[in-house]
Amino acid sequence: MQKILIANRGEIARRVIRAARELGIRTAVVYSDADADSLFVQEADEAVRLEGTAAADTYLVASLILDAAAKVGADAIHPGYGFLSENADFAEECVKAGLTFIGPPPAAIRSMGDKVTSKEIMAANGVPTLQGVTVTDVSAGGDAQDLQAALAGIGLPAIIKASAGGGGRGMRIVNSADELLSAVESAQREAVAAFGNGTVFIERYISPSRHIEVQIVADAHGQVAALFERECSIQRRHQKVVEEAPSPVVDEAWRAKLLEAAIKAARAVDYRGAGTVEFIAGNDGTFAFLEMNTRLQVEHPVTECITGLDLVQLQIAVARGEALPPEAMNPTITGHAIEVRLCAEDPAAGYLPVSGTFDLFEVGGDGIRVDTGVETGSEVSPYYDSMIAKVIAHGPTRSAAAGRLADALSRARLHGITTNRDLLVRILRSPEYLAGDTTTDFLDRVEGLTAPLTDEPTHRQHAVIATIALAARRAADRSVQPGLPIGWRNNRATLEIVELKGEGDPIKVAYNLQRGAPVIEVDGKPVIVEIHSAGSELVDATIGGVRRRYRVHLTGVGGLDGALVDGVGGASAFSVVDPLPAPGSSVPAGGLIAPMPGSVVRVMVAEGDTVTAGTPLLVLEAMKMQHTITSPGDGVVTALNVTAGTQVERGTVLVELSDPAAE
């Protein structure tokens, strides 16, 4: 294997490049137009453009990927995760094209791709699955015993669901065998009433449930390595948010069962490569097969952290036909690792994805691994996944890892795009998380997680810091009188005022930093500030009796358009409101006069019409040329003094417009 074409983008493309480079293998990537300036394109040895931006036109088109592979002379394809990674046809085509597909055999992808089939295979091979029974009609009587027999196979508690329905109607939870018959009957009655169909389905009810998965890697020599479990219960919209290894609830005995089940699952489909067997689990140690992901998982780094293995390199080794090394076959757990998915999204607005440009992207720290596809200045396009980075902490214990990760996230400087950073920090610092009480309903159950980390007083402090940094930048950039005290006056009438727009209402900071103790007022209220050092990057100041160091990043032309402030209390982003109006933004209202003598050819507006800047109002013909008179600003036509054919002198008021600001 000499050169891998990575059929993916973003952080996973960079992850594969890193692993390949360590093995001395060249890399090539494909990229859409939206990703032309991305880090992964810059880091790969070669790159092939895929015209277009939508995934369906680019990363999902197998033929384009294969063409690219041919163009760069790649001999292997790494599909990453998502996109074509679990597409059996694509895997097949790769093989047909003589390329090594770094992933499982197409057949394994196929059998695991179908939920029903996979469940059947698993059940047949002794992997615990959620078995269910369909009940059409019990009112006919006599079947009660059959029902009890079926329940014995399912286990308690069980849930009864209407086959036809949804929305919880017809749903009953059964905690003891005695309740079963009446529960089924009432569920059926409700199902009939609601859906006209009394068919119900009984299956094991696991609640609260957890999402626990096992990482496996299988080679072509019959070896299957089970690299312990990961727990990824904290999810939103079925997408994982926080993942960790090992699980806080799995003990040795439980782990042994999980690993055994996972190995069975892999063997059942003659698996090769890295894969993940996902289980639904209860707090009591019960678990059942959900599905198998036949690819590298997003959350693979936590497994790497605790085992010291490089899963991408293991994938490549297996793909090359090598046997799994002893360290993979006899893995050990060292410490605890937690990963969070940092996403460009607004948790408070229903996790709405956000696109834009990162004015600042700095995250890291001791014991912190960051897998990301972005950097300061990167643009996040709306075309792909909103995940922008995985931040992983490895520590000796779970609480150490959680603390370290929350700290690194809270210190991260993320500006320009809304992210779920604050949510992640709040999760990691919540008593529920720290107690290991991480079930799939976590985000619905735990309250207050979407509140911003930066409270109002801190935000106001940050406005003061932004003001100081802006003043320092202006002072440093002065072209004349460079050494003078900032804003010096020998007869001071007013304080300098800067209006900062951030979250919430704009904040007005009035200040005078000229000598001795600075005078600062925030929205008219004096704030006692002692400035120890003031720069445009760092401000060291005592506010409210506490001395803190604030990091600042100034944005825009000359660094005077905005300020991004990070402190121990959180982060704020401000834009500076120009005290002077933009050119042309306040065109004086009044009459529009004829620029020269002529005749009105056409009138396009009527009195009372609302016009905007540039709206054609009328056409004037003078000296054989037609001049269109357009509205200089937004407003309402209050008077129309001419009609088509009117002869006008220069200076005649043609149209009068209202002042929109006055309304």
Binding site: R474, G487, N491, E496
Partner: protein, 531 residues
């Protein structure tokens, strides 16, 4: 360059008593500045704001670069007269887009911004500064013209304003008028003579005669807008170059106009600025409360010069005057500072040489005055003190490098002239609050008159009335005391302002930077020196 070492004991009785006295003087200054800022008083300020207008100082604060310095000039003009302190106008030096400009802003809250004799004096001084230092002029106009009751003292000299404006233009110094309100009668020539005009819709009013005057003169019936509205001037007469929608828009346009000049300063650029080793605010405890007690100029220089570094010229000769070179806010400067008050022949000769040498190498000069004048007495007259003093005055008068004078304490007699007093046209002259300027000290002057009176009585053979003489002497002493008071001099616009001693370095930094807008070049030839 040698570094000055301060020997001031900030816990000494002398320091503390000076500090207390000077702080008291500063409080008096601040009180008067507050009177100036109050303009026409609370009622007229409130009315002005109700009309949605900014005050003249708010306009300036919005016009200058954020964080830049603004040095208000002659803030106590008209002090001690019947006119409002500040003389209904604000002048000063500020920075727009990195360009240092002279600002002249009428205070519309004081009698409608009308001009009295002190207003004109203050404005003409600002224009003189603009001319000497090649500083563009920004007028913020809101004036009903002359204060008619005082027209006799005003009308004739006032014409110089318009002459100055157009001469500045001819010298290549741009002039701008931002018309915030009335600019009528004679005032209409301010926009008339400026290179650039901005008028505000429904607010600016510029005409020679308003509707009543026109009706009286010609019988024509007209409206304000027809005669001088901003829209009329912007679309019909063409007097206005830019039509602004409101005050902020006018200020934006004013800033935009300055950027179009691609302004370049003609003087050399400064070196990096190094702070002094000592706190300038300690000057408050260094400057003597009692003007009869001299204080060390080295202590002053240690708080003014970059790095407190001073290379003294002829330290062993003429020791009552310190001369030497240093750097202030990055600008090389020559310093002449009085040490023991009186100037002898040696001091005058040393000063003469030093001024010539500074001219030879194009170095601006700073005069720090604390002088009681040239020595008198038989041996000195016979030794030619007049000739020596004449050399120094010749050197100062004909020196072409920029001069900036600070009156720290006494400024008496010909010492005021030799040390570049106002009549010697320094580019800028500032005074500390406790300073005095007069032909001589009050008690000396009263005593001289008493002696002269006694001699006259003896010559006439009449009895000398001792009691009457004592009363007259006291009265004269009080009069001189009052008239030499720094506020009194400042009220007459004989300086460019009373400054907080602690701000001296900053004020010198601003003014040195300002003078470098023009060529900084010394005199190569000199007048005949009387040896």
């Amino acid at each position: 360059m040698p570094t000055l070492r301060s020997e001031v004991d900030t816990n000494s009785d002398e320091y503390l008593s000076n500090l207390a006295h000077n702080a008291g003087m500063l409080k008096l200054l601040e009180d008067q500045l507050e009177v100036a800022r109050a303009g026409g008083g609370a009622k007229y300020m409130a009315r002005h704001r109700e009309r949605g207008r900014f005050t003249c100082r708010e306009r300036i604060d919005l016009l200058v670069d954020p964080g830049s310095a603004f040095l208000e000039l002659s803030p106590l003009a008209a002090w001690g007269t019947d006119f409002t302190v500040g003389a209904s106008v604000v002048t000063g030096i500020g920075v727009i887009h990195g360009v240092e400009c002279v600002f002249i802003a009428n205070d519309g809250t004081v009698k409608g911004g009308t001009s009295n004799p002190y207003t004109w004096k203050k404005m003409l001084r600002a224009l003189h500064i603009a001319r000497l230092n090649r500083l563009p002029v920004i007028n913020l106009v809101e004036s009903g013209g002359a204060d008619l009751p005082t027209q006799a003292d005003l009308f004739v000299p006032a014409g110089q304003l318009f002459r100055d404006l157009t001469q500045l233009s001819a010298l290549g110094i741009p002039t701008v008028a931002l018309v915030f309100g009335n600019s009528t009668a004679g005032g209409a020539y301010v926009p008339g003579m400026c290179d650039y005009n901005v008028m505000i819709d429904k607010q600016s009013k510029v005409f020679l005669g308003g509707p009543p005057l026109v009706k009286m003169a010609t019988g024509e019936v007209s409206t304000d807008e027809e005669l001088g509205g901003a829209r009329m001037h912007s679309t019909v007469s063409g007097l206005s170059d830019y039509l602004a929608s409101d005050e902020r828009d006018a200020i934006r346009l004013g800033r935009q106009i300055v950027t179009s000049w691609n302004w370049t300063k003609l003087g050399p650029t400064p070196k990096p600025v190094v702070d002094p080793l000592y706190d300038p605010s300690e000057l408050m405890g260094i400057a003597s409360a009692d003007l009869r007690v001299p204080f060390s100029p080295y202590e002053v220089l240690a708080r003014l010069l970059d790095g407190s570094q001073f290379e003294e010229y002829k330290p062993e000769y003429g020791t009552s005057l310190a001369t030497g070179w240093g750097t202030l806010h990055g600008y090389p400067v020559g310093i002449l500072a009085n040490k023991a008050g009186v100037l002898f022949g040696e001091e005058a000769q040393k000063a003469t040489e030093f001024i010539q040498k500074s001219n030879q190498v194009d170095t601006p000069l700073i005069f720090l005055q604390n002088t009681t004048g040239y020595i008198v007495g038989k041996s000195f007259e016979q030794g030619g003190i007049i000739k020596d003093g004449a050399k120094m005055i010749n050197a100062v008068a004909n020196s072409a490098v920029p001069h900036i004078t600070v009156i720290m304490g006494a400024s008496y007699g010909a010492g005021n002239y030799g040390m570049c007093g106002r009549a010697y046209d320094p580019r800028f002259l500032f005074a500390w609050p406790n300073s005095r300027t007069a032909v001589m000290g009050p008690s000396q002057l009263a005593g001289v008159l008493s002696i002269v009176g006694r001699e006259a009585a003896a010559a006439a053979g009449v009895d000398f009335d001792e009691a009457k003489d004592a009363a007259r002497t006291a009265a004269i002493e009080a009069q001189i005391e009052r008239e030499s008071y720094s506020f009194f001099m400042s009220g007459k616009v004989y300086d460019d302002g009373i400054i907080d001693p602690a701000d001296t370095r900053t004020v010198l930094g601003i003014t040195l930077s300002a003078v470098h807008n023009n060529v900084v070049e010394g005199r190569r030839g000199y007048g005949v020196f009387r040896m």
